[in-house]
Symmetry: C2
Subunit: 269 residues, 2 copies
């Protein structure tokens, strides 16, 4: 695990790392913010970014470090997919392949050998956070934006006792019912729609998956993707039907951008 | 003046504009943050960015909007040079030409027709802020980073009653004595070193230019450019010699990056 660069920030340190992943069989990058208090961080915010993002977007644009420093919480932001591969269709669009892993375990030829971001995040990175950065009793929460919000919901619901809290900004909550999700699931999982269900937060809830803590979603009402891609209400309905506590905070006038995330990250943290 | 995009942010709005500049004779871009309170902004923070930057860097990376919103201060960030030209050597390096205007009025062939960022900022943009964004009694302060810190010091010292306060992060304070400044001044002004002096904050101070308010400088002590390019102590010395109140805040361990700027922008505002 190699530190590519680091800078002092809000009394702590922002660092960019690269390591060889056993799961994706590629080099992977992630960024961290370490409050560098006298004691190890009391918890970790594991942030999954959206389509086209890298390990840089959230840590540069969200302005979270001040609030994390105040509370002695570390941040870790993985990249959004393996890099440096040349799989079929991997580099042809913004919503599939590179930068668009959807945080699942792919089963299609080529992709199944590398695009296992689910196990990369949930096992390899999770264990690395526990062994390298925080003490054994510190908590890890999972959150994300858009495709990363989908990732946070799915990974968190499948592993409720590994993640203290699940939260998201503008998540894709029901990917099997929206164009982004359908394209990605076809490419990563094939056309067996039963297999799709274990990677869809709304479907997981219907199958009995839930989380002991309230799930928090922030959603802008001027988000151009709300109606066709995010489908927030589908998740709200199954949470109500299946008894999962969910708090959706709708924000008048806010869109899908990091300007929206920055505006509410303090409250969210 | 055309709005290219806008997003709600901290209850106000971030906007990116493009307009035809009479001074640079090119299209120019700038970004603004408007707190959108009930009343027009009480003041404007005019921010000049450093080498290689555009109108985007500060507004995306510094995390200033929250504090500006709280105080009803607007922000305006111009681009760092004219764009879309093909002047000699304009696109060959990071420290001259495109993205590296040094905020002066060039006098060399080709550059003198377009690279008059001094008058673009100090007249065209200044008047546009006054007429489009703030009320007549609102104040404009000028600040910047690195090359933009140099710009803020020079423009502010030459026009002390137009700018309420001058401040800077890691400014180039004595460009005629450092490699970045010498290269730029040779290219924009030619080799008459007397002409260089009117674009050098340390030399301006020696010629009697000053500002009625204290000048504030934030400077990281792990900044790799401190010793060879920024020369902070040269400016501190002339301020002391000529009676200009100056507050230099040195910060242990901080470098030249936006991680440093973000860490101290709240205090600075």
């Amino acid at each position: 695990m190699q530190i590519l660069k680091s800078s002092k920030c809000f009394g702590g340190e922002v660092r960019f790392y690269e390591h060889d992943s056993l799961i994706t069989k590629t080099k992977m990058r992630f960024s961290v913010f370490l409050p560098l208090q006298a004691n190890p961080p009391v918890s970790c915010m594991l942030w999954l970014s959206g389509l086209t993002c890298t390990e840089e977007n959230f840590i540069i644009k969200a302005g979270a470090q001040k609030y994390l420093a105040d509370k002695n919480i570390m941040l870790l932001c993985p990249d959004t997919s393996p890099r440096g591969l040349t799989l079929p269709y991997e580099h042809e669009s913004d919503d599939f392949g590179s930068g668009a892993s959807f945080y699942l375990s792919a089963s299609t030829p080529g992709y199944k050998d590398h695009y296992d971001m689910y196990n990369y995040i949930n096992n390899e990175l999770y264990n690395l956070i526990k062994t390298e950065f925080i003490s054994s009793n510190a908590k890890i929460s999972i959150c994300g934006h858009s495709m990363g919000g989908h990732g946070a919901l799915v990974i968190g619901l499948k592993n409720p006792y590994k993640y203290y809290k699940i939260s998201a900004f503008a998540p894709i909550v029901n990917p099997s019912q929206c164009p982004w999700g359908q394209k990605a699931f076809n490419g990563y999982l094939g056309n067996d729609k039963e297999e799709w269900k274990i990677w869809d937060a709304t479907e997981l809830m219907k199958s009995g998956f839930c989380h002991p803590q309230p799930i928090i979603i922030e959603q802008g009402l001027s988000d151009p993707f709300l109606e066709k891609q995010l489908l927030t209400e589908n998740f709200a309905k199954v949470c109500e039907d299946y008894g999962q506590t969910l708090q959706v905070n709708y924000h008048e006038g806010y869109d899908h951008s990091y300007w929206f995330i920055a505006s509410f990250i303090e409250w969210h943290i």
